[in-house]
Amino acid sequence: MTPVLSVLVHNKPGVLNRITALFMRKGFNIQSLTVCITESPDVSRMTLVMSEMDEAALEQVMKQLHKQIDVLKVTDLTEAPMVSRELALIQVNSPIAQRATITSLIDPFRASIVDVGRDTVTVQVTGDAEKIEALISLLRPYGIRELARTGLTALPREASAVSELRRLNESQVLPI
């Protein structure tokens, strides 16, 4: 599994360094890390996507994060109901002749063209990692010039929304 952790930390200088130093010291690998401000100016949220690891290793990661004095809360979102999004900017070759194809390609992804040049367009897409991977591989044959991804950011779903979802799902089950 590739765990997703949401970590609330004090918004103070050096906190990011503490976290990355911890990961280096313990040999934990991360796939992506985003840091952003939250509704409270004293608190930042880090969203960590870890590399493949087993449960025991994940438990150790979470405990080590907890040990940091500046870490306020660690939530494992891997299996929890969550909304998670990543944003990618993809600069892809696009001679005028092909531009229509590209537009129709990206349309189902609800991606948009945010910059247009003579030979390229820049596509912006948001979604989960899978969706972004899918669009990237569709665009790859046209020649991707440059690619920038933000890494995942995530929030757990509100409890009431989760139970509502569950109720909806359950009501769709046909009793036999």
Partner: protein, 583 residues
């Protein structure tokens, strides 16, 4: 004025003019705030070394009433602070200047981090205005020390000083103890701000669990009552928590065998009939047999270090493991644990003692272990006219009636001390375990002396390790500290030599000290009375006189150069595969 009342034993006010206010706060300069904070924390001794960036701080310390011990190297200062902390249970305080002063603390910080020793290290830093410009003696000690401290701070304004010091002392000495570093830019020391020390520390991200979960205790106790082969593994957590009496009571109540880790020694009396000895690489056969064959292992404040466990697949392979630790991250880290108990080990033992459960039926197991203990004691062969290092240790133990505070360095002599010095009471044993820091012993002995000046202090050091921090003899000489320094001179980096003999085909690569300084002249140069002994016949008399003499003393004891530490669990093998259990 609340917060201003001071106990009578405190001496002078800060040298800066205190501007008293009615709310209990006062206006102070940064440097004076540091001194005032140390006073509020009841710090009675500081180990340190001055330099440019801490000049304002040293000015405030001058005649402030808190004793300052000038070691001859910052590494010496921090190891001294560690020795002090280890025997008192109170944070050791060390001060160093920026740049090289700060980097000289690195080994001690790492050592304290590994062995959970409470330290508050104060470093000077270049002025805020030049941070980041590669100013003279600038180094990012925050960056360097982050992985080897429990926490660290760089102060940005004098107004932060009270809060930061309060938090630092609290963090260092609570939960799983450890070193905290405070970096203070030089200009901060000159800033003026309000000093108030009354607010409790506000640390929402740091709330160690002290009282364990009752449910887990119940699980532990019901598992224990069903066990056939129970054993207690007691680590230094027992000492940090002050839980010796509770440990003894619990082991006696249920007649449980007790194994200590290296750092736990003294938590359970060595002479107790339920004590099996130290476990691990150079532990006793009985202790390791118990750890291998047990069906119910209760770990009380130990961290399953690899030198203890040996190859993990052979460590307690048939056991249900219960682990009591104040640091949840230690539970399940190395050994999979069925009954985790997060909390202070003394609290846990009190709850375990209150539990009304049947004791396990383990008489057969106990008898088997005691027979093994009988059959395979630590051993050495007395032969020839030279001194066996093991006998040296046993004699020191006998002549001090086991009453001394004993400090070692790292190597063979350390293991022999762990084996042959029977530690009967807590907090008399100071050694570098997790980091295995050569050079630790001599300065740590100085700190231990300041922590327990009423006790006899004996430093047992290797001839090589001693030379790593030998300059600290100056402190002993200058202050005439009644510390007895014993050099176990085997003319070698003995532990390395042993491994080369056993695992590298006797190729003694860079491990023999064929050239040695004249240790006697060296000690005498520091005006410390020094003696050499090399004949076994003379040992008892020389030791008796040496230990009885007042003031400092230095004894070079030339021992058999080829003696090895046994028994041994060779690296990569299981604890049931000990070699050298018998002569």
């Amino acid at each position: 004025m609340p917060g201003m009342s001071k106990p009578a034993d405190e001496m002078k006010r800060p040298t800066g003019e205190a501007n008293h206010r009615t709310d209990g706060a006062m206006l102070l300069k940064g440097a004076d705030m540091v001194v005032e904070a140390l006073r509020r924390e009841r710090v009675d001794v500081i180990f340190g070394y001055p330099g440019g960036a801490v000049l304002p701080l040293y000015d405030a310390l001058y005649e402030c009433g808190i004793r300052h011990v000038l070691t001859r190297h910052e590494q010496g200062a921090i190891h001294a602070a560690e020795g002090y902390a280890r025997v008192t249970g109170r944070p050791g305080v060390v001060i160093a200047t920026s740049g090289p002063g700060a980097t000289n603390l690195v080994t001690g910080l790492a050592d304290a981090m590994m062995d959970s020793i409470p330290i508050v290290a104060i470093t000077g830093q270049v002025a805020k205005t030049v941070i980041g410009t590669d100013a003279f003696q600038e180094t990012s000690i925050i960056g360097i020390s982050t992985p080897i401290t429990k926490h660290n701070y760089q102060i940005r304004h004098a107004s932060e000083i009270p809060k930061v010091f309060k938090e630092a002392f609290h963090i260092a000495n609570s939960g799983r103890k450890g070193p905290v570093l405070i970096d203070i830019p030089k200009d901060v020391a000159g800033e003026t701000a309000l000093f108030s020390y009354d607010d409790p520390p506000q640390l929402p991200g740091y709330q160690p669990t002290v009282v364990p979960h009752q449910l887990q205790i119940r699980k532990l106790m019901s598992g224990l009552s069903r066990a056939k082969k129970p054993v207690i593994l007691a680590g230094a957590g027992i000492l940090h928590a002050g839980a010796s009496a509770e440990l003894v009571a619990f082991a006696e109540r249920h007649r449980l065998p007790v194994v200590h880790t290296l750092l736990g020694l003294g938590g359970f009396p060595a002479s107790h009939p339920l004590f099996l000895g130290m476990g691990g690489m150079h532990g006793s056969a009985a202790a390791n047999k118990a750890l291998h064959e047990t069906d119910f292992l209760i770990n009380l404040g130990a961290r399953f270090d690899d030198r203890l466990t040996g190859k993990l697949e052979f460590f307690a392979p048939h056991a249900t493991v219960a682990h009591v630790d104040i640091d949840p991250a230690e539970i399940g880290k190395n050994v999979s644990t069925q009954i985790p108990v997060v909390g202070d080990v003394r609290e846990a033992l009190l709850m375990m003692l209150a539990a009304d459960v049947e004791s396990p039926h383990a008489d057969a197991w106990m008898n088997e272990l005691l027979a093994t203990k009988e059959q395979f004691p630590y051993w050495y062969v007395q032969e020839g006219t030279g001194i066996k290092p093991q006998r040296l240790i046993a004699e020191i133990a006998r002549l001090t009636a086991g009453n001394a505070v004993v400090i070692t360095d790292v190597g063979q002599h350390q293991m022999w001390t762990a084996q042959f010095f029977p530690f009967e009471v807590p907090d008399r044993w100071v050694t570098s375990g997790g980091l295995g820091t050569m050079g630790f012993g001599l300065p740590a002995a100085i700190g231990a002396y300041f922590g327990k000046p009423e006790q006899q202090v004996v430093a047992i050091l290797g001839d090589a390790g001693f030379q790593m921090t030998q300059q600290e003899l100056a402190v002993i000489g200058e202050m005439e500290l009644p510390i007895k320094v014993v050099i176990v001179n085997n003319g070698a980096l003995g532990m390395v030599r042993q491994w080369q003999e056993l695992f590298h085909g006797e190729r003694y690569s860079a491990s023999l000290l064929e050239w040695q300084p004249d240790f006697i002249k060296l000690a005498e140069a520091y005006r410390i009375p020094a003696t050499r002994v090399q004949e076994d016949d003379a040992l008892t008399d020389v030791l008796t006189a040496f230990l009885a003499a007042p003031g400092p003393g230095f004894l070079e004891c030339v021992v058999e150069p080829r003696e090895n530490v046994f028994p041994m669990v060779a690296p990569g093998t299981g604890i049931h595969q000990m070699v050298g259990v018998k002569p």
